[in-house]
Symmetry: C2
Subunit: 302 residues, 2 copies
Amino acid sequence: MVTRSENHELASTFLTATASLVETFLSQTMDRRDKAPPRLIAAMRHTLEAGGKRIRPALCLAAAEVVGGCADDALPAACAIEMLHTYSLIHDDLPAMDNDDFRRGRPTCHVAFDEATAILAGDGLLTDAFSLMTESPRDSVRVLLAVRELAGAAGSQGMVGGQQLDLEGAGKPVGLADVERIHAGKTAALLGASAAIGSILGGGSVEAVASLRCYGIALGMAFQAMDDVLDTTASREVLGKTPGKDQSRQMPTLVRALGVDGTRRWAEDWSRQALEALEPVANRPAAAILRGFVALCMSRNH
Amino acid sequence: MVTRSENHELASTFLTATASLVETFLSQTMDRRDKAPPRLIAAMRHTLEAGGKRIRPALCLAAAEVVGGCADDALPAACAIEMLHTYSLIHDDLPAMDNDDFRRGRPTCHVAFDEATAILAGDGLLTDAFSLMTESPRDSVRVLLAVRELAGAAGSQGMVGGQQLDLEGAGKPVGLADVERIHAGKTAALLGASAAIGSILGGGSVEAVASLRCYGIALGMAFQAMDDVLDTTASREVLGKTPGKDQSRQMPTLVRALGVDGTRRWAEDWSRQALEALEPVANRPAAAILRGFVALCMSRNH
């Protein structure tokens, strides 16, 4: 029996190994874009290569292994998801949106380049993510399902919709149901898709894909709740971005709706749901990694 | 033998019929997005439903017919291409980009809504376009090829790259090679993809797809050249947008590189190349529609 702290260690090791794999593959992917304007590619790389936990690709690769597949089959898709996530960071940071000057400890894309280039860098990463998805080395049926999963989670009814609701909620009274809907769109949808896509490309059954999607969504809800806690309690040095901004702009956060302790309990509740969703695949060796992501999420400090 | 003016008439009728088909389908597609924030959908619809010639979907549907396929098989993809084209208009009009207040005779998206909503409406249209692509009623191999074609034409090495080069060229001396590269990315890539995607989903051979892609690219080059001419010579009432802006902002246009007459000759040269590319499919009845698009392009006044 693997203990909780062993899961934690396993997940942490897996994250480090994935980050290196993903960063190498992303760099090669950008190198291949030799028909694109150099300044555009430089802007795309600026945020893409600024580090980050690479949690979404790790989730994707671990989900592929959990269903008995090979991580290599899911690597292009895992990197495509990270490109798509990076586009969302670049656009969210724009002056018309969250107006953030720092991200992952560096100037944001529109500060380092200019606003037009940042908009286009985001557009390029989003579109090129779909190009990369189609390069997944699997049969077309599964690759097309994976493309559909990603577009559904990232579009107007998923991540983009969540960001819109987030902006609309600024300065207004927040109900728990509103915040839940924002977090589901902004964060949980893409984490759910990351796990689902890994299991699709790993050759998982429809049931396994559904379980892993639920797991990813629940993990995403817990992850975003902890993000709200950290925005209240952590420093800029630890976060790599400006803390307290959500509070000062009266953004619709869980902490405003539930307080810090209530938000922690909410995160714990979602983390239990994530572990429950794993039950159908609990006997697979790689499931320990997915359990470890839950443990990591609950103990994160940045 | 169908004459040139009969082609013109045929293409014109086809455009009108397509526009109505596409607008109905797009409206239904937006109606189905009931889990998206209403204001986001309203912003997406604002530009999507403001009219326009719907040349890209028409090209896609006509290409499906030319290879002996059924237009219905290509209809979701044709509408996805129009959604993607509309995202590019919304983002190009933003204050940080071309800063346009009028488009298709209406206030642009960021004027009618706000800048953040316009950025997200563009992101939503782009992402949802890929969702819609995956709903094409064909075998997965062809649908996946179509997704790849679209992402390749629209991404950092295609449309987004062209827009970046366009902005970088403002106020600088323009060479013909620079303008050609900008037009190839900004306009011709997506027109080429529209014709290629129609032929892929219509069941065309690899050779037919390649011919139709070449045709679409050449048509796009002619189309953008005529756009530069019209920006110099037409009025706002006729264009539905502010004319003369490219000139006053010293944008890298063909007219600056070749003059008005030189640009018209350039367009004629590309229109001949478009017709030549059609030779392998010239005996198909629907090829007359594609020849008619070339005639329409050369005689356009808006």
